[in-house]
């Protein structure tokens, strides 16, 4: 079943990206899809390793919507700092604990921090991220803890 799913995904990606539906291009797409699937099945016999996506799809999409609003707000804050004549920057390096269990959840949290202007995730340590803020305010830690809680809520419950 997984093989048929892979064929459909690869072929769909080829058709979407090429946009030319002549027999030659579609034929080349079929050939390369089959070649990739052949290599995948051969590789699979080595370790049977699967990528598990431990994220709820709907929850993740809702989180993306919330993140876009946060990005817009943070952009406006940093834009005001750049354009202000006095340029009130207040740099601070601090650490924020994370509660995600899966690697993917941690990556999403760290990337969300970097995506919102004004904060950059600098270093990962066991149990916490090192964050650099350009205009640190005392609410920053609470806001990031809120983001951490939202990312953790996107994770599936039954992961070890």
């Amino acid at each position: 079943m997984r093989i048929f799913g892979a064929i459909i995904v690869f072929l769909g990606l080829w058709l979407l990206l090429s946009g030319i539906y002549k027999p030659l291009t579609v034929g080349l797409g079929v050939v390369s899809t089959l070649a990739v699937v052949f290599i995948l099945t051969r590789m699979n016999s080595i370790d049977e390793d699967r990528v598990e996506i431990e994220i709820k799809p709907v929850g993740f999409l809702l989180y993306q919507g919330w993140l876009l609003v946060e990005i817009a707000k943070a952009n406006w804050v940093v834009t005001k700092i750049i354009l202000a004549p006095s340029m009130p920057i207040k740099q601070h390096l601090f650490s924020i604990p994370y509660t995600q269990k899966s690697d993917l959840g941690q990556v999403i949290f760290a990337n969300s921090i970097t995506l919102t202007p004004g904060t950059v995730s600098v270093e990962t340590e066991p149990g916490q991220f090192l964050i650099h803020a350009v205009a640190y305010s005392n609410d920053d830690k609470a806001a990031l803890a809120d983001m951490d809680r939202r990312v953790t809520a996107c994770e599936k419950a039954d992961i070890s």
């Binding site: 946009g19 952009n75 940093v78 390096l93 919102t116 950059v120 600098v122 090192l130």
Partner: protein, 124 residues
Amino acid sequence: MSLDTLVDVISWALMLSGSFFVIIGAIGTLRFPDFWSRLHAVSITDSAGVILLFAGMCMQAGFTLITVKLIIIGVFLFVTGPTATHAIANAALVSGLRPKEAKGFTGVEPEPLTKPTADPAVSE
């Protein structure tokens, strides 16, 4: 006003505001004093500029394959952009560059990546 004009107006507004944020990012890169703060100025270009420009371009393209490709590129940039920023920031931290802390703040000292005894050539 016909629908085409409306779509044109909205997409131009999106693209112009996206360009505005790209310019803001450039101004910030020039005005900010050091490496760490400039990193944040660039991230404005990275997020608001890219999102608004792509939204405008998608509206110009309409329901075509070009829009699909733009969305695929946008998703890739959404994942790779912050990862690249993190890689640059991390490289700066590991090589010993520390941000200048604001008045009254002390920064967190990260745990050393290499133990002092592990490789004397690195610690020197």
